[in-house]
Structures are given as C-alpha cells and as structure tokens.
C-alpha cells in the first residue's frame, strides 16, 4: 500500500515550529537578499543611475561589458569541451579497466573541487608563469605564455570544474555494468561502435547533467581566474571580475546588471538540470 504510514503523518507543534524556522531561515539567508538584487538591478540606489529595463540593457551593451561576457563564454566553452572529453575517457578507464594506481587516481580526481580557487590560481602561476614558474622559461622560449593570457584562464576554469562530468558518469557506468557491451562486441561491434551505440545512449543523461554543471561552474568561476588573469578592462576581465571591479569602483549599477545576468544563467542551469533529472527518475 502506497499511503504514508501514520507514524510519519502525525503533526505536532514541533512540526510547525520547525517548518516556520526553516522557511524563515531560508528567506532571510537566500530569498530576501536575492530579491533585493533584482530590485537593485532595475532600480539602482545610486543617485545618478537610471532605472528600468532599458537602462539595464544599455549597461549590458557597454563594450567593456560585452567583452567581459564574451571572454567568460570563451573560457567556459573550452573548459567544458576539455572536461567532457577528458571526463568521458577517464570515467570509462576508471570503471571498466584495472591498472595500478586506479584507486589513488579516483581519489585524486576529486581534489580540484575541494581546493580553494585561490590555491588553484597560485598553483598555475607557480608552474607556468614566465617569470617564476617551473616551466615558465621553457614555455617562454618557444613563445608560449599561459599566465596572463586566455590559455591560463581556460586552464584555471577547467581545473575547478574538472570532476563534475566524471562524478555524474561513473555511478551510471557502474550501474549499467558490462553485459550489453560484451553482448555487442560478441555480435561483432568494434570498440567505437559499442561505445556509440551501447554505452553512450545509456549515459547520455548523466553526461548532459555533468556538462550543464560544468558550464554553470565555469561561467561563474572567479578566484582562480582572478589570479591568472591580468584582470583589466578589455584585457582579461571576465564577467565575474567585472562585477568585482565595478562594485569596488562605485559603479554599482553595472555590477548589479552583470550579476543579474549570471543569476539568470544559474537559475536557468537549475531548471535545465531539473528537467534532465526527470527522464532518469522515470526509469
């Protein structure tokens, strides 16, 4: 019988107290501040700033703002592409193959998510900056500059979102097992055909989920990018860096306009991700 058991239906004063507390807590911590951002995006409190949707769009059309969003999208695109290819490969290897150091690798893969973004940026600087990095001089001699240019920012973005695709795919790969893959190869499919016709269709939702998560994380990366980027207007200033720069330079309305776009992107990602989860839940 599907009905909720009576022991869990019982509602006492404590139930309502907890409910009230949780709603209040989330309202004060998240909902109210968020609504205030929307408010300030369209009705800035700065004395000389214009309000309304038109003014909001105008702020976004400022060349330095479009440059910042363009750079953010470029970095996110490459980081997500790299992470997807790498994530697919490593997940398959970790689940389907046995090799020395397999368990250590599976633990290390998670490390980038837990490392402070500042440490990520610092690590990349210490390895690749042309002045003081381990490999900086060698790269400089062949004309490659990583720190202070777009490749460094792509690397920083890829670093912080590295495990997201892998985390989503691995559990699914484990669950589906190898039976149908073995069946396919016994029917004469080669490795690529097996992957494309058997493995990929069963992990496509998990993969899509991981890609959306990576994209959301990449669009919003701040700390690691801040350290490896020159961070000046039209020179390595991404959307998140722009928000910081404008806010600290008393151009709040631009900061809020850019922030609002990123909030929208985040909410969109949440919605997309909810819809991706659905078909999976149905099975």
């Amino acid at each position: 019988m599907a009905e909720v058991k009576e022991i869990r239906q019982h509602k006492s004063a404590v139930t309502y107290l907890l409910r009230f507390f949780v709603i209040g807590y989330l309202f004060v911590l998240v909902v109210w501040p968020l609504s205030e951002v929307v408010q300030r995006t369209f009705a800035p409190v700065e004395p000389d700033a214009a309000g309304g949707f038109g003014a909001f769009l105008e702020r976004l059309q400022d060349p330095s703002v479009t440059y910042a969003f363009g750079l953010t999208i470029t970095c996110a695109f490459w980081a997500v592409l790299i992470n997807t290819v790498f994530g697919l490969g490593i997940s398959l290897l970790l689940v389907r193959y046995d090799f020395p150091g397999r368990r250590i690798l599976s633990v290390l893969i998670d490390l980038p998510m837990s490392v402070s973004p500042v440490v990520v940026g610092l690590a990349l600087v210490l390895a690749y900056s042309s002045g003081s990095g381990w490999f900086g001089e060698g790269l400089e001699s062949v004309g490659i500059f990583i720190i202070g240019s777009t490749p460094g920012m792509v690397m920083a973005t890829a670093f912080v979102s590295l495990p997201l695709v892998i985390r989503e795919i691995i559990p699914v790969l484990e669950e589906i097992g190898t039976d149908s893959e073995l069946a396919a190869s016994s029917l004469g499919a080669n490795a690529w055909q097996t992957f494309r016709r058997i493995t990929l269709p069963s992990i496509k939702w998990a993969l899509a989920y991981g890609v959306v998560l990576s994209l959301a994380r990449s669009l919003g990366e701040f700390g690691a990018v801040k350290i490896v980027s020159p961070g000046a207007e039209f020179r390595g200033e991404t959307a998140t860096l722009l928000i910081q720069n404008r806010y600290t330079n008393y151009d709040e309305s631009s900061a809020y306009a850019a922030a609002f776009v990123l909030v929208l992107a985040a909410v969109l990602a949440l919605v997309v991700v909810t819809f991706i989860r659905r078909p999976e839940d149905r099975t």
């Binding site: 022991i7 998240v30 968020l34 205030e36 046995d98 490390l111 919003g220 991700v273």
Partner: protein, 282 residues
C-alpha cells in the same frame, strides 16, 4: 527530490563492477597515458609547484611565515569561522533536510530549489547578493562589510547545501518499520529520533559537515567584497594568499596555500574512508 547543482553525498566512488574490470589494451593504455599527462599538466604539477615553493625556503621559512602574527591571526580567524559555520550547518542543515523530507506543505518544492541557489551562484555574485541586503545602504540598516559577522554570514550562505543534500537522501531511505518498531517498544517520538533516526544520519551529517568545512576554510569569492581584509580583524586565509601574491611574496602565498591544500586532502581521504565504512555496515 532534486539535488540540483549540489554536492553529491561524498566524492565519486568506483566500485568494482561484476563483469570487469578488464586489463588495459594498447588503445586504452594510450588513452590512459594521454589522460594522465593532461591531469598532471593541469592539476598535479601545479599543485606540486605549490608544495615546492612552500618547501623551497626550508622548514624555518615555512614556519616563520605561518607564525608571523598577522598570518597566524588570519589562519586562526579562518579556522574559528569555519568551525562555527560547520557546527551551525550540522544542526540547521539536518533540520532543513528533515522538514524537506518529512513535512508537507504548499511551496515545499520551491524551498527545495532555494537550497541549490547558493551553490549555483558564482561566488562573487553570492557576495553581492548578501551585500544588497546586508551591505552599505542596507534597507534593513544592517551593514556587514568588514565585520566577522559578515564573513560568518557569507560562509553560511555558500555552505548551505552541503549538509542538507547529504542528509536528505539518507533520511528518505530510513525504513518506516524501524520507527514503528521503536514506537511499539515504547519509545516516544523524540526518543525514536534521538536513538534510532539520528544515529543513522551521523555518517551523512559528518560527510556533509566535512565538505562544508573544507569549503569554508578555502572560500574566497564571496568574501572578497564582504571581508574588509583588515589585518588581525577580518582577514582570512584565502585573502591572505592573494595579498602575499600581490606583494610578490610567492613563498608566503605557497605556505598558506599548502595548509589549505592539506585540509582539502584530509577531507577527501577522510570521506573516502567514511563512505567505505558505511558501505560495509549496510
């Protein structure tokens, strides 16, 4: 229940599938090689460079940096704030998960989505979100800029989902029969919670708290605008690293970074051990 954009219950784990795993073939061996090279270029070598830079000046230089009063104050503040936030989250996160799983009211699904927002927002935006209500010219007349309360609030915001999202699935899976058994043995609802439900949540609370603690220790983006970065008062570890770096003191930055790195590694390895132990208990 959606666990959108939220941290999974512990790191991704590889269990041995029944059919495999297979030995590496030439093709998969090459694939693994390429993967490892990229992983090393992107992650391992740079992190090694941090450890190298911290160790370059020897133990005394390393210890000297960390015991410098200003650095030490930043580290202490970071740890104290992280511990406080973790304790609050362990309690409130469990309560939130409880309400989301056990209670039923209009708008509950919306609340479930709200939990994910702090995680989905870029960190700098998270800082801005809090400042819009609790910053200068705050409509509620409450300015948190350059205060320890501000740091606390920012950390509370960005770590909100950790405990909630690790406890929620475990709470969903608790058998109703165990609670009924406790009731028919005479246990009150509170006793049942304390002695039957809570103990089964402890591993999840621990896992979520550890993840939250690691995040709080290393948090940067949301604090940039809020913490005024005043030495001895509102300067935290990650901002201290930035300050070292801007002052061209890479050894100093690396020394603090190594500490943060260590916390991250300890948490990850600890969670790995915890999840294996829980899996064994069944």
């Amino acid at each position: 229940m959606t666990d959108v954009l939220a941290p999974p219950a512990g790191p991704a784990r590889t269990r041995r599938p029944s059919g495999g795993p297979f030995r590496l073939s030439t093709a998969s061996g090459i694939g693994l090689g390429i993967g490892l090279v990229w992983f090393s270029i992107l992650v391992l070598l740079p992190l090694a460079a941090v450890v190298g830079a911290a160790a370059a000046g020897g133990w005394s230089a390393f210890a000297g940096t960390l015991t410098d009063p200003q650095t030490f104050a930043a580290l202490r503040l970071t740890v104290v704030e992280a511990v406080l936030v973790t304790v609050v989250n362990a309690v409130i996160g469990t309560v939130v998960a409880w309400v989301l799983v056990r209670d039923d009211f209009v708008g509950k699904r919306l609340l479930d989505v709200v939990i994910d927002i702090p995680f989905a927002l870029p960190t700098i935006v998270a800082g801005l979100v809090l400042l819009s209500l609790y910053g200068p010219d705050s409509p509620v007349g409450f300015n948190i800029v350059n205060t320890r309360t501000g740091i606390f609030l920012a950390l509370l915001f960005v770590t909100l989902p950790f405990v909630v999202r690790t406890v929620q699935p475990v709470l969903l899976e608790i058998e109703v029969e165990a609670e009924e058994a406790a009731a028919s043995l005479g246990a009150s609802r509170f006793t049942t919670f304390r002695r039957v439900i809570l103990p089964s949540l402890v591993p999840a609370i621990t896992a979520g708290s550890s993840l939250g603690f690691a995040r709080a220790i290393s948090e940067f983006g949301s604090l940039v605008l809020i913490s005024g970065n005043t030495p001895y008062r509102t300067e935290v570890a990650s901002l201290k690293i930035l300050k070292f770096l801007e002052g061209d003191n890479q050894a100093g930055a690396a020394a603090v970074a190594v500490l943060l790195l260590l916390v991250a590694v300890v948490v990850i390895v600890g969670l790995d051990i915890l999840s294996r132990r829980v899996a064994r208990r069944g």
